[in-house]
């Protein structure tokens, strides 16, 4: 499935919607979006990943990258990640860097 990424900024909340497979060939597209958003100092970065079917380590690296760029004050929210992604986040400790929700706003 092809990869798509959309982003918009509404009142200090940046929202990125991802679909398809996030791997080392598509991760740079996400990184580009993140780089566009960071200078606008969002207080939350919300990633809709419900329709993201696969995330390789390259994608997880972008999550780490986004978290580092956001700083400690801003929240990084993942909306409806699939089970396998949650497990990987747990095993690698990334789970503590993100907030996981079923829908946003809650």
């Amino acid at each position: 499935m092809s990869f798509t990424v959309d982003s918009k900024m509404i009142e200090n909340v940046a929202r990125i919607t991802l679909t398809g497979a996030l791997d080392s060939s598509t991760a740079p597209l996400l990184q580009e979006e993140v780089m566009k958003i960071i200078p606008q100092n969002p207080k939350e970065l919300v990633m809709d990943v419900e329709h993201l079917d696969f995330m390789a380590s390259a994608g997880l690296r972008i999550i780490i990258f986004a978290k580092q760029k956001l700083g400690t004050q801003a929240k990084l929210v993942l909306v409806k990640p699939q089970d396998q992604l949650i497990e990987t986040l747990k095993m690698t400790g990334l789970i503590f860097s993100v907030v996981i929700v079923d829908k946003y706003p809650e």
């Binding site: 380590s57 690296r61 780490i64 497990e87 095993m91 690698t92 400790g93």
Partner: protein
């Protein structure tokens, strides 16, 4: 990367088939990310040229080969920055040209693709025992890793070594058995799930058997009798000293093993549990002259290995080759490696397998002042790490008690193990030596203090504690070597029947002997270590060398906690007892005098009569009292503790030393009693009705505290 972030000194000067590169930096060695590129640096004293070989992940054929131009070489170091590489998806290696002259120690072969000794991850065995493509041009593939893990405030714990309770474990064995009840069996993530168990048991340090990348298929074979695939299960055969074993990570198939391991360490630290790595610097997976060329052999054979005058490999490790640890180059690599693990992975300490090899000169002779051991002892980055030697090697160098320590090094105390085992089975003439061992072996470590010795009764090498009291002989047939492998001198006693039995008396005696061993271990001065599963009676059915089995022979069966509930409860108690009483955890030796003016010496020995120890040959009774006013050199006030160990097969009466100030003796442990009366929990000790004497059952240990 933003264009404006690119510094001007990182512009390409060369191009080959569309790949841009330039002269690199000599340090650090290995492959390092730099703005817009990767810096590659490798050295060889005898190569005449070097080529960088680049692969897409898992690809059979390289996509580029870039020879290092002469101007990229400083001294013996080849370095190059290659631009615009997709480092998520990259694997690399080197080809080295040079002389082929085995007698002179050179075996260069420019057709071989060699793995980088400084690679931080290795591809090729990403998932445990997944059959690889055996014909792959480049089987063990160097990779880069990211160093973006969020440690938050974590750092190594620096627990005083005398306060450690070490639990030796194998990553796969700990949670692979179905009874572990967890999701990611046999992995780093699996250990993380079991942290609550480690907390419940009360240990505060785990020692992981080798986790450096190794090939589980090395020397693998099918046992013709059983059809079982015998593998390199323990992993004492390193492919690369910087890379964690990918197959030990549930996320290894995604290349996230580094993160998973770091997350485990961080979580353990959060729970005040330290991590010690069992590191194998004495040899590599390349074997002898018949073994494969993977990395070191092809890069600089003469530098990395101890060679005989004929160009063969010295074999002090018993496994084919011997790493040339006191060659200045290899010494630096070992130091770089340990610094990396201490700083990048927050490792708390290292246990060096066959460490006596690290004290041998390049010709194999033992050195008086081995530079490697000295460098490690004085290194600023390793300054707070525990350094523990297995102070012997397979070449006959036995240095327990004499390992060059530089005020730092501790040792696995093999003599402690041997003494406790003999005392436990009721051998004659052991009381005197046992008294030295339980004091932290002042006869061996007079200047080094009580913490120079890691005390243990069992470890991965040899019988489990249950098997030590269930087998007289080793039963290693399953290893496929006609029971020829493994140690023959086990000092074990089967309590009257070889192996499993329904005889209740024998089983009861075995449980008592296990409790005796645990009691002796945890009231001894020094640093106690137990083997995974000994707290619940794990058996290997008499096999004392299970290095090759990925089966239930090694996997911890968690149902044993229920089956041997009394053992588990007892182990928890005796660990908690040690942690409660600082008088058991002195870093310095006893002085046998009352330097705190409490009315009692710091330690005193007793026998059937108080104050009269029986040191005679036929004696099997050792009783001692530790004065609470002398705990940790008098810096702590603790309860006075009285321990009586009767390893004779008949009961005896023991007179108790009189206490002052109206204090009384309370019972904490009596291994002769059936559960639940074999111990009383901390602060629930039972006051003795008779304060003057007690009856010690046959082969039993009693522990009293003064309150």
């Amino acid at each position: 990367m933003n264009e404006s972030d690119v510094r001007i000194d990182y512009y390409p000067t060369h191009e080959l088939d569309g790949i841009k590169y330039r002269c690199g930096r000599v340090l650090p060695f290995g492959a390092t990310m730099v703005p817009n590129g990767i810096n590659f640096s490798i050295y060889s004293s005898s190569a005449t040229s070097c080529t960088l070989v680049l692969f897409k992940k898992n690809a059979d054929q390289p996509f580029a080969e870039i020879p290092f131009p002469k101007e990229f070489m400083i001294g013996n170091v080849y370095s190059m920055i290659v631009f615009d590489l997709d480092y998520e998806n990259l694997e690399y290696g080197y080809k080295m040209s040079g002389p082929y002259d085995p007698v002179a120690g050179h075996i260069f072969d420019s057709s071989k693709i060699l793995s980088d000794p400084y690679a931080k991850a290795i591809g090729g065995r990403d998932t445990w025992l997944k059959p690889p493509n055996w014909d792959k041009l480049y089987p063990f593939r160097s990779r880069l890793v990211f160093e973006d893990f969020d440690w938050e405030n974590d750092k190594p714990l620096e627990t005083p070594i005398e306060d450690l309770i070490i639990y030796e474990m194998h990553v796969r064995s700990f949670t692979t058995h179905p009874s572990s009840g967890i999701k990611f069996k046999g992995t780093f993530a699996g250990i993380r799930e079991k942290i609550p168990y480690l907390m419940d048991l009360g240990v505060n340090c785990i020692e992981l058997m080798p986790i450096y990348e190794f090939d589980e298929y090395e020397h693998s074979k099918i046992d013709p009798n059983t059809g079982e695939l015998l593998v390199n299960y323990w992993g004492y055969s390193t492919l690369n000293f910087f890379a964690p074993k990918s197959g030990y990570a549930a996320t290894g198939k995604y290349g996230m093993q580094v993160d998973e391991l770091k997350n485990l360490i961080k979580e353990l630290h959060n729970n005040n549990i330290e991590v010690i790595l069992d590191v194998v610097f004495n040899h590599t997976a390349e074997g002898d002259h018949r073994g494969p060329v993977i990395s070191f052999k092809g890069i600089d054979n003469k530098t990395y290995y101890m060679l005989t005058p004929e160009g063969y490999y010295f074999n002090f490790s018993g496994t084919g080759n011997t790493l040339n640890c006191n060659h200045p180059i290899v010494r630096n690599m070992v130091l770089d490696c340990l610094r990396y693990w201490a700083s990048e992975y927050h490792i708390d300490g290292f246990r060096f397998d066959l460490a006596s090899i690290l004290g041998r000169a390049q010709d194999g002779s033992p050195l008086n002042n081995p530079p490697l051991l000295e460098s490690l002892a004085y290194d600023p980055i390793l300054a707070k790490c525990k350094l523990i030697a297995e102070a012997w090697d397979a070449g006959g160098l036995y240095q327990v008690g004499t390992f060059p320590c530089y005020g730092r090094w501790a040792e696995w105390n093999g003599k402690y193990r041997d003494t406790v085992r003999k005392f436990l089975k009721g051998d004659e003439n052991m009381v005197g030596e046992m008294s030295q061992r339980m004091q932290g072996s002042p006869d061996m470590y007079s200047a080094r203090g009580a913490t120079a010795g890691i005390n243990f009764v069992t470890c991965h090498d040899g019988f489990t504690l249950y098997d030590l009291v269930s087998y007289n002989e080793k039963h290693n047939e399953a290893n496929g070597e006609n029971n020829q492998d493994g140690n023959n001198d086990n000092d074990s006693w089967n309590c009257g029947w070889e192996g499993e039995t329904d005889n209740q008396d024998i089983n009861r005696l075995r449980h008592k002997q296990i409790k005796n061993a645990l009691s002796i271990l945890f009231v001894s001065q020094g640093v106690p270590m137990i083997l995974m599963g000994d707290e619940m009676g794990r058996t290997q059915y008499g096999n004392n060398n299970t290095y090759c089995h990925d089966t239930e022979l090694n996997w911890l069966n968690w149902d044993l906690i229920k089956k041997n509930e009394d053992l588990y409860n007892f182990a928890k108690h005796i660990i908690s007892f040690r942690r409660t009483h600082p008088v058991l955890r002195n870093s310095q030796h006893f002085r046998n005098m009352d330097y705190m003016n409490t009315g009692y010496p710091d330690i005193s020995f007793h026998g059937k009569q108080a104050w009269q120890a029986d040191w005679s040959e036929s004696s099997r009774l050792l009783a001692f009292m530790l004065d609470g006013g002398h705990a940790k050199n008098g810096n702590y006030k603790d309860n006075t503790i009285f321990v009586a160990m009767n390893m004779f097969w008949e009961a005896c009466s023991v007179e108790l030393p009189k206490l002052q100030n109206g204090k009384s003796w309370f019972l904490s442990v009596n291994t002769d009693m059936q559960p639940p009366f074999d111990f009383y929990g901390v602060s629930y000790e039972q006051k003795l009705e008779d304060q003057n004497s007690l009856i010690l059952g046959p082969r039993s240990v009693v522990i009293l505290i003064e309150k």
